[in-house]
């Protein structure tokens, strides 16, 4: 068996990295164990068993299957590494939910786990009061890990990988126009983790300062910075103070920005931020959307201040793919879910923790279509697409087209399966779009958040697949399921 897969690709290396990742998860699980010990919430046993399983599996893959692995790898391996880690690790990390009894149904536990690691934020938890605090922390922590991604952990801390890390990087992380902040990939990634950590700590402190308790601040900051969207309370963050909501909005906005730009912000070079065309587009989209939504709410009779508040929050949450929501003010308007539905297609900036199609792709697309119109009138004109002054190659534009086309295909296919499971048209479209864009909660036709708990198992599996596809930007997942990648 081992012989077989080492022949088509460097399987030992995949196993070794998988083992490494499982062990790392065991280390991360120490955080909820600590919380559990402190609060004595009765979840300790479940976590300890999970850690044991993780360690055993991790050692098995790392030291037995993956022993004497060579560190040579190519495009193909990078897809395999990414795909396998992203499927296996969330599966194993679903154990705590199941063992502790928060989600007695295993498929529910897996759903929650995948929703966490892909930083989506769709939840099947219904009674938040009975969930142990350590489990809440674990949920948000998975989002925090998944927001940056396993592969970035590997690149940052697995020293022996030398050549080809950029393949790995692009297999998981959407860097369209890769602005590297350091010529060496390892250093770039480490700096990104640093930025990530700093912002998390900053948000945590601010949340504590405005009067939240320790666990809730921790959960919220983990889930916000990763644009995840798990909340420690029912009804997302509707029941929090307005100051908390404001903090969450600001940090959602920040986490939707390209990480390297945030790095420049920390280095006190805010001009770099403004120089980025994508960032300006991001601002523009948010501003226009907020304006439109506010007008819609006001014409529906909601007070001005309240509608502005709601619009800013909901627009930022949707575009950064954070996925928090607050209760809709005023009467029910069916155009609002559609409006938010359209916003779901935008996605955050490239190189951020957010999901979706990504701003830069849409920008290139719009510019390209505009140019097409121009060339139709002046057939001899040559008008290249430029982003930040750099000409974008046609082959790259083609990739974007293909990506978006695939995105639509998977959406339609997913929505079709949900309809077969008995959902209505708008619900299934909404649910699929929210999950492939890693947003999470959907506002349904009644204005409340849509519950994932009652879905049949098939639908849950489909949604899990969509979340993964969305998080890994399609290619890595298709790659390991397509025959041509199995050939040598």
């Amino acid at each position: 068996m081992i012989h077989f897969y080492t022949r088509i690709f460097n399987g030992r290396l995949v196993a070794r990295l998988l083992g490494f990742m499982l062990l790392t998860m065991a280390v991360f699980m120490l955080i909820p164990i600590g919380v559990s010990l402190y609060y004595g919430d009765g979840a300790l046993k479940g976590f300890l068993v999970s850690v044991a399983v993780l360690v055993v599996m991790g050692v098995f893959f790392r030291s037995i299957v993956g022993r004497s692995a060579s560190y040579e790898f190519h495009e193909k391996e990078s897809f395999w590494i990414t795909g396998v880690i992203w499927i296996v690790v969330p599966l194993v990390c679903a154990l705590p939910y199941w063992l502790i009894g928060v989600l007695p149904n295993f498929i529910d536990a897996v759903f929650e786990s995948f929703s966490g690691f892909t930083s989506t934020g769709s939840t099947v938890v219904q009674e938040f009061d009975s969930v142990p605090k350590s489990v809440l922390v674990w949920r948000s922590l998975t989002q925090w890990i998944g927001g940056m991604g396993f592969i970035l952990l590997v690149i940052a801390f697995f020293k022996k990988l030398k050549a080809g890390t950029s393949h790995l990087y692009s297999a998981e992380f959407s860097g369209t126009v890769q602005n590297k902040i350091h010529p060496r990939m390892t250093n770039t990634v480490r700096r990104m983790w640093l930025v990530y950590l700093l912002f998390t700590i900053l948000m945590f402190l601010v949340l504590l300062f405005v009067g939240n308790d320790f666990v809730e601040s921790l959960c919220l900051s983990f889930s916000t910075i990763s644009t995840g969207g798990f909340s420690p309370r029912a009804g997302s963050i509707t029941s929090f103070e307005w100051s908390t909501q404001l903090v969450v909005t600001v940090f959602m906005f920040l986490s939707g920005i390209n990480m390297s730009l945030l790095y420049y912000l920390l280095r006190r070079k805010p001009k770099m931020l403004w120089r980025s065309e994508e960032f300006r587009f991001y601002l523009l989209v948010i501003a226009v959307a907020v304006l439109l939504l506010t007008i819609m709410l006001i014409t529906n009779g909601v007070a001005e201040w309240q509608s502005l508040q709601y619009s800013v929050f909901q627009v930022v949450s949707t575009i950064s793919t954070g996925g928090y929501y607050i209760a809709m003010p005023g009467g029910w308007m069916k155009v609002i879910p559609l409006f938010l539905f359209v916003l779901m297609f935008f996605g955050a900036c490239s190189g951020s923790t957010g999901g979706g199609i990504k701003m830069v792709r849409l920008m290139i697309l719009f510019k390209y279509v505009r140019n097409q119109f121009l060339t139709m009138m002046h057939p001899r004109a040559v008008v290249p697409v430029k982003i930040d002054g750099n000409v974008i190659q046609l082959s790259y534009i083609n990739k974007i087209f293909a990506f978006i086309f695939m995105y639509f295909v998977f959406m339609v296919a997913g929505a079709f399966v949900l309809m077969c499971c008995g959902l209505n048209l708008s619900d299934s479209m909404g649910v699929i779009t929210a999950n492939i864009a890693n947003i999470g909660p959907v506002i349904d036709t009644l204005g409340a958040a849509w519950s994932y708990a009652d879905l049949p198992a098939v639908a849950k599996i489909v949604i899990i697949v969509e979340m993964l596809i969305g998080r890994l930007e399609i290619f890595a997942i298709i790659a390991i399921f397509s025959p041509s990648y199995w050939r040598r």
Partner: protein, 472 residues
């Protein structure tokens, strides 16, 4: 322009004839509208400043769009003059739906209409059908409009020649093909159990992939035989007209240039029919023959974006309706009367994606997208993709406008897709045997625009809205 209006006027006179024949009371208004149209047409012809035969590209875009708008405008006259429709919006919607071969109707009760009007509705679709085929297959290649460059690239042999002679020869050949098809279908229908009038109207609407019926329940009450004949007619209407012509002239070597699209079109049709049969048999308690008949006919209507309805499809399960929606968007073959994105474009999109995937693995491999084992040029691929996104964009915007206007989400989606693809029936209230009468006025205009944009492949219409277009 003027010539076309004269033509339209003459055709209205034909309807007057029908009215006379069936001894209906209100032919006078009809006569008036025919005369007005004729008059305007004649005036246009005589006072046209454009004496030279040369048309540049921008004029071409303008004319193509204006033709459809003007035809629909004057087409409304009979409805308004006879008073069957009391407002302009409805009449315009109905006529736009006719000339774009969409088949969405605003009439709640079709059966009370005078026969002359019913005939006019179906005739408008027939004209619209032949119009688009002419435009795409004969006129556009001679002008070289970019958004259609696909077609000129696809078509084989003599059609590519740009000389005046060739164009008129092509036009003649296409006319003959279209007429022969029409006569054939009519003969089969009339030879069956339909009376003259319903046979001819259904032929007109079927062969043009239009979908106006003269019954409230569309074609559901026709005999099984007639339904099968219509299904075949609809299937034919989704096929490139040139293919028939080449087939009859035994030019098989040239047929090869569209074989892949043809197989894709037909296979999808049969497969979808099969799936629908099974689903209907399982969920609706229809016995197998009935399920097969309904599925076959309705699927033919969907893949050719015709829009005849054979059963109350709103009662069918949602996934099937959703599939219908998706396959409407796919449409028939390029160079046919059907709407949608067209099979060829979808094939190109599909293959291109597969290529991109392969390139991720072998970044240096060179493998062009091939259609009918010939490589497709990059320009065409990019044109197709542009169109695809402009199409999607139009759908989203229209959807948004409709919902703002107060139409329910499901219904709006169905209506927009129905309008832009030229299918006709949507979902929920406007699906199945339903109609568009209850839509707000603004929504009707949006939908009428969608029909036009969908028929003329979006880009042609949007060109007119660019400020740059009007400069100089």
């Amino acid at each position: 322009m003027g010539i076309l209006l004269v033509g339209e006027g003459l055709l209205m006179m034909l309807c007057v004839g029908i009215g006379l024949y069936y001894a209906e009371a209100d032919i006078m208004p009809f006569l008036f509208s025919a005369l007005i149209t004729l008059a305007v047409g004649v005036i246009c012809v005589f006072f046209s400043p454009h004496k030279s035969g040369y048309i540049d590209k921008r004029m071409a875009y303008l004319i193509v769009t204006l033709v459809w708008v003007a035809m629909s405008l004057f087409g409304t006259l009979p409805f308004l003059a006879t008073g069957t429709i009391d407002n302009f919006t409805d009449a315009f919607f109905e006529m736009m739906s006719g000339f774009t071969t969409t088949g969405a109707t605003v009439f709640e009760d079709i059966e009370v209409l005078p026969k002359s009007l019913l005939f006019w509705r179906s005739l408008s679709q027939w004209i619209g059908g032949v119009g688009i085929v002419m435009l795409v297959l004969a006129i556009v290649p001679s002008l070289g409009i970019n958004s259609y460059s696909l077609y000129s690239a696809e078509l084989a042999g003599p059609l590519k020649d740009k000389t005046h002679n060739r164009v008129s020869a092509t036009v003649r050949n296409l006319w003959i093909t279209y007429l022969v098809l029409t006569v054939l279908v009519f003969a089969f229908l009339w030879g069956g159990d339909m009376d003259f009038f319903s046979a001819i109207t259904h032929t007109f609407s079927g062969i043009s992939s239009g979908g106006f019926s003269i019954y409230n329940s569309s074609i559901s009450q026709l005999s099984a035989y007639s339904q099968y004949v219509l299904a075949v007619a609809m299937w034919l209407s989704g096929i490139n007209l040139t293919l028939f012509y080449l087939f009859v002239r035994v030019k098989f070597s040239k047929l090869r240039s569209s074989l892949e699209q043809f197989f894709s079109y037909t296979c999808v049709f049969l497969l979808l029919a099969l799936i629908t049969t099974v689903v209907l048999n399982q969920t609706m308690e229809y016995d197998l023959p009935k399920a097969f008949r309904l599925a076959f006919v309705q699927t033919a209507s969907v893949v050719s974006t015709c829009g005849f309805v054979v059963d109350d499809t709103t009662q069918w399960v949602l996934p099937i309706n959703f599939l219908f929606l998706i396959f409407c968007l796919r449409g028939g073959m390029a160079g046919s009367t059907s709407g949608g994105l067209k099979v060829m474009r979808v094939l190109i999109l599909e293959k291109n994606v597969r290529n991109v995937m392969r390139n991720r693995l072998h970044p240096n491999a060179v493998n062009p997208v091939r259609l009918n084992s010939k490589p497709v040029s990059d320009t065409i691929i990019y044109n197709v993709m542009t169109l695809f996104f402009v199409y999607c964009f139009t759908i989203v915007i229209a959807l948004f406008l409709l919902i703002l206007d107060g139409v329910s989400t499901t219904e709006a989606l169905g209506a927009v897709v129905g309008a832009i693809t030229g299918y006709g029936p949507g979902l929920a209230e406007c699906g199945g045997f339903g109609n568009y009468a209850h839509f707000p006025i603004f929504s009707k205009w949006v939908l009428a625009f969608c029909m036009l944009a969908g028929r003329l492949e979006c880009i042609t219409v949007y060109m007119l809205f660019l400020p740059k277009f009007w400069k100089r």
